[in-house]
Amino acid sequence: MTIITQPAAVPVTPNKGAEPVDPVYRQIRDLVYKVSGIYKAEEKLYLLADGCTRRMKQLGARTPRDYWDQLTAQPSRDGELRQLLNEITIGETCLFRSQPQLDALRKVILPEIVGEKNKQITKRLRIWSAGCSTGEESYTLAMNMLEERDRLLQGWTLEILATDLNDRSIETAKAGIYGDYALRNTTDYFKRKYFSILDERKLQVSAEVKKLITFSRLNLQDDSRMLFMKGIDLVFCCNVLIYFDGVSKAKVINHFFSNLNFGGYFFLGTSESLMRLNDQFHLIHFPGTIAYWKPSLKSGKL
């Protein structure tokens, strides 16, 4: 008899009660991934669809298929893809955006780095928030480091470098004032410990936290300045490289590799991939998150 085999099963999580997603959105998802490295998982496909719908309204595209044509065939496609990326990443900025990243940092990476560096005379930890935007990530990192100050990081010098291309973002970041939406993942514990109440709806980051961070303007494509960033233990660069073309992206990633100390780690956004733009970094899985590792000298894996 003939056995009929089914093509590879595509896991489809039913999107709670909503109508089925137009298959064109899967095509758009794959295009977005190929160009930017951002992967919108099946259950988040509605977010991609929402972003597309907003763009379609602006452009007067009637169907997702029309929009697909604009994304691929029209001369304006690069610009349009950029607009779409803006749409689908816009709501993601908040403090404590990724708990698995913070867990990996505090439970796995810090003990390792501290164990390694404790033999050295200068106990210094340098973290770089590259493309810090309005500061949410930088402050989150700073608060988490402060939590370890009496434990793992006792006697350590902590430094967080936060850079962005946009002056206005940096000014906002420096002020450190956030409302409910940005603080939606921040627990009361952290709110009480590291913020002061500015008015009914806004909290401001305390001086103790701010002291750890140096905000400055930096263009990641400025090679001469990138060469000066040295001795970094951890780079966080979330949803920034997605806007770069392949060549620029590879160049920036190579810079990050040189900027990092041996044994250092590089984090992207939670649904972002380095693709295959650098084969020196090792892909590392932590519970619920991934990062890229610059092998340490003694690991013999360089």
Binding site: Q6, V10, P11, Y39, E42, E43, V108, I109, L283, H285
Partner: protein
Amino acid sequence: MTVSLAETIHERVRHIETMPAIPAVFLPLLKLLSSSGQDARVDEVVRLVSYDNTIAAQCLRVASSPLFGLEKSPKSIKGAVLTLGLRRVETILLTCCLGQAFPAKKWVLDPAVFWRHSLGCAMVCRKFSEKLAVADGEKAYMAGLLHDIGFMVNCLVFPEEFAKAMKRARGEEIPLDEAEQSTMGFTHCETGQALAEKWGLANDVIEVIAHHHAIEKSQKARPLVALVHLSDLLCRMRGLGYGYYERRMVDLIADPAWPILLQEHRDLEGVDLVRFTFELDEAVGAIHALVAMVFGSAPART
């Protein structure tokens, strides 16, 4: 492990009077799955299943899970075979049987957590097989599904010792097999192997059960052991582990299993591991749903 310890394990496993609640079709089905040659097996499978209406009905429902690729439940086992292929129906049946094979009161670990891990590993093994064009993806599924059956044995015949190991693993956030080794002096690999031999499972599946944590000890079926080992690690890093935080990092490509699998399947080199990881995340919802459907009758730990 000492000789006397090995004897104790075998002695105790011998006295598990076939898993108390095991469906009658289970062992014959395992034999069928282990045999080769597809002709004349369809009727045999249909005949076997007709003895057990519960299993048959459940099998038809499970076939419509997004994980198995059908949109609607097939009307009969024969219909399921025609659309999904015999091998896949057999593995679905095996999944359903296992769900009923274990006495609800005896669980030491949370059964839902255990089944999510086993089923997740089975799905990842199959999906990996598809990417690597492995001839028998359903064999890989079966190996993934059964790789941890030693935990069931532990619950049945070493409940107190295993409870201690579980507690230690959870408390110290270390891998469960390490905690077993240091608390009990053996792991689920040995107890699983004893049960697998008693059940007369295929040799390559026994090899997986015995050596998925120590591939260097594996003599036969090494690519299959490597495949399950890597899938197991990936599941544990993506929320399909044993229900607690494992304080560790995993470098899949630097794992000893990777070159073994690569030697057999050159396609492995081209697999985008990050996207593969994101795709696994998409299946997590469906895995939860399926476990609730198939294994839902098992109450939480008492």
